[in-house]
């Protein structure tokens, strides 16, 4: 049998659509609005989520190795005397501080999913200046990973972001409240009455994040000032932030004496919020797709009846049932395709108008995913919607049409 020439199917599909111009235009517009809404909503919600996540963990560790704060499960009472003697030192060591932190840093850095890892020593201190006393979180960091986890180097607004002895890197909020500028000196006190004179080396601005209450000093200085034998934690950032929980769980299984915590575990509420946002956007997408399908199915269903005469004579002249049904699938594809492209334009315009009009603090997330998903969904909906009229067209018997005029 000859190879079917299906170029003519496209031609007929196109002419069928152009003949019912008003009807076609309405459906194309309907698809366009649906695609635009889908694109706009998902780009908006993704943009919002990206910015929320960035605010939360952009300048914070994604996972932490923390002291166990408890005996390893089943250790007490189960271990015999010998074992107790062997592991005794270790158990005590890792209870509130991490002694063998270098091992954890090395292990984390060796993992390809991990971007950077560094130890950190934390302390609570006070700064007294003029009449005011304010409490600050003192972070003892090591360069460069420690600085980069908190994005201090990138967000420095004044001075040089370098860790050096007796030099403090200051969050913008503290600097403002105490009217400290680069080069100024101040006194940091700990709760045991210790005093440390520090010079402001740089001021950084981490935006809205809590990081602006930070005071960063070289780690070794924090360890000695707050009398920390080991370190407070080992912190890391990973390439794919959503993988942090899995990675943490993996390492957690390897290490018995410390606990691992991911940003997800520390931000359950945020995650629940994000998830319900995503769910509602998927729900909206679903209903948009359903309405697009219904619109296309109904218009093509009507067309399959309206075009009976044409289909009848086409079949008499040699159009196969497969071709007849393809003519309708192609019509669906054309409606879905043209509508999607138009919708994308419309959606981009809406997005641009939204960002320009509201001065939103976050951008639309225009990615391959947010662009292509509505198109692919609309095309799939169009093809599925056209199957019923396509089947009707295939089943039509030319003799019926010709006998009944």
């Amino acid at each position: 049998m000859k190879k079917p020439a299906n170029r003519y199917e496209w031609m007929i599909a196109l002419r069928f659509l152009l003949r019912g111009r008003g009807q076609t235009l309405l459906i194309v517009l309907g698809v366009a609005v649906g695609v635009a809404v889908q694109f706009f909503l998902s780009a908006l919600i993704s943009g919002l989520q990206v910015s929320l996540i960035d605010n939360t963990i952009g300048s914070a560790p994604h996972l932490l190795v923390l002291p166990a704060d408890r005996l390893p499960a089943g250790a007490a009472g189960v271990l015999d005397d010998a074992a107790r003697r062997d592991s005794g030192r270790v158990l005590i060591d890792e209870l509130t501080e991490i002694q063998s932190w270098q091992t954890y840093v090395d292990d984390l850095r060796r993992d390809r999913r991990v971007l950077r890892a560094a130890p950190v020593a934390n302390g609570q201190g006070f700064i007294e200046r003029g009449g005011a006393v304010i409490a600050v979180t003192v972070k003892g960091l090591v360069a460069p990973d420690g600085l980069d986890i908190y994005r201090i180097r990138a967000k420095t607004v004044a001075g040089a972001p370098e860790l050096a002895s007796d030099t403090a890197l200051l969050g913008q909020r503290i600097a403002e409240r105490l009217t400290l500028a680069v080069g100024d000196k101040f006194v940091l006190r700990n709760d045991r009455g210790g005093r440390l004179v520090l010079r402001v080396g740089a001021v950084f601005d981490l935006g809205a994040a809590a990081g602006n209450d930070l005071l960063a000093v070289p780690m070794d200085q924090v360890r000695s000032f707050f009398a920390i034998g080991g370190v407070s934690a080992v912190e890391a950032q990973v390439r794919d932030v959503f993988a942090a929980e899995d990675i943490a769980r993996g390492f957690g299984r390897q290490y018995a004496r410390v606990k691992l915590e991911s940003w997800q575990e520390r931000n359950r509420q945020l995650l629940t919020g994000l998830r319900s946002q995503s769910t509602s956007s998927v729900t909206i997408q679903f209903f948009v797709i359903v309405s697009i399908s219904l619109a296309i199915a109904s218009v093509l269903g009507i067309a399959a009846v309206q075009k009976q005469r044409q289909l009848g004579i086409l079949k008499a002249m040699g159009t196969t049932d497969r071709s007849a049904s393809r003519i309708f699938v192609i019509q669906g594809l054309l409606l879905g395709g043209v509508g999607s492209l138009l919708g994308l334009g419309l959606g981009l315009l809406m997005g641009w108008g939204f960002v320009a009009g509201t001065g939103a603090a976050f951008g639309l997330e225009v990615s391959a995913r947010t662009l292509l998903t509505p198109i692919v969904l609309a095309l799939a909906a169009a093809v599925i919607a056209s199957t019923i009229p396509a089947r009707k067209a295939a089943a039509l018997s030319p003799i019926e049409v010709i006998r009944n005029g």
């Binding site: 000859k2 020439a5 031609m11 007929i12 152009l18 002249m317 040699g318 196969t320 049932d321 010709i402």
Partner: protein, 250 residues
């Protein structure tokens, strides 16, 4: 008949429904290659049904059809459609032109469906036929802008474009006034004479039937009479048809 392009053997057709309607009974006929065969008979006698069976548009319930030496056993509708595309042309009472396409595009449709020949050559052939038939000037017109006679001529051009072996026409002038009907019939007779295309036409009109080379008369789904007009002569056939109505002896 020495050279028949179409032969049927004991063809029967029953429409099955709430009540089964037997329409054709044991029809065995031959259609001479290159000739003009008319099918006549009273309304409801099964002329259209027979024509559609011969044109492989409607499958018979029983019996056999031999088309150009080939027994049609094919029951697959798609295979039959492909066969029709290259071998038969249809002209109906209604023109069935597609309003979505221009006159020329309508003529080209059977070529598009069949594929194969290069576009330029097909176009040239289509235009040549349209010129011959006298609708060349309307090539780019929308079909609904044409008169009934012009529309039917475009339909004839469409039936001819794939150079079919047989053209089936079912009362092709039934929707036309007398004058344009005559013109269309004259044209079809001419085309039949000048080319080798076989013409099978259902008609109510005795005058028209008498222009044919062969006439089959159907009554109640059976062949009642056959006239070989070439042999018996036109006058004799005319007299016979006029004077005696045909009844089938049971």
């Amino acid at each position: 008949m020495a050279d028949a392009v179409l032969r049927t053997r004991a063809l029967s057709k029953t429409y099955f429904g709430k009540v089964d309607t037997p329409v054709l009974h044991d029809v065995s006929i031959e259609i001479a290659r290159g000739g003009f065969t008319a099918l006549i008979g009273p309304s409801g006698s099964g002329k259209s049904t027979l024509l559609n069976c011969l044109g492989l548009l409607d499958p018979p319930t029983a019996g056999e059809i031999e088309f150009d030496g080939r027994t049609i056993r094919e029951r697959n509708v798609n295979e039959l459609a492909a066969f029709r595309n290259g071998n038969v042309g249809f002209i109906f009472q209604f023109h069935y032109l597609l309003p979505e396409f221009s006159a020329l595009e309508n003529v080209l449709l059977p070529c598009w469906i069949g594929g194969g020949r290069p576009a330029a050559e097909r176009r040239r052939e289509a235009l040549r036929i349209m010129e011959r038939i006298g609708v060349g000037a309307f090539r780019d017109k929308a079909v609904y802008e044409l008169s009934g006679g012009q529309q039917q001529r475009v339909a004839i051009a469409r039936a001819l474009v794939n150079r079919p072996k047989v053209i089936f026409a079912d009362e092709p002038t039934g929707n036309l006034d007398r004058e344009s009907g005559q013109a269309v019939l004259g044209l079809m007779a001419e085309l039949n004479r000048e080319s080798n295309i076989t013409l099978v036409m259902v008609t109510h009109d005795r005058e028209v039937a008498l222009q044919a080379d062969h006439i089959y008369e159907l009554v109640d789904g059976r062949i009642c009479r056959y006239f070989d007009v070439g042999r018996s002569g036109r006058e004799a056939a005319a007299r016979e048809i006029e004077e005696r109505s045909c009844t089938i002896k049971q």
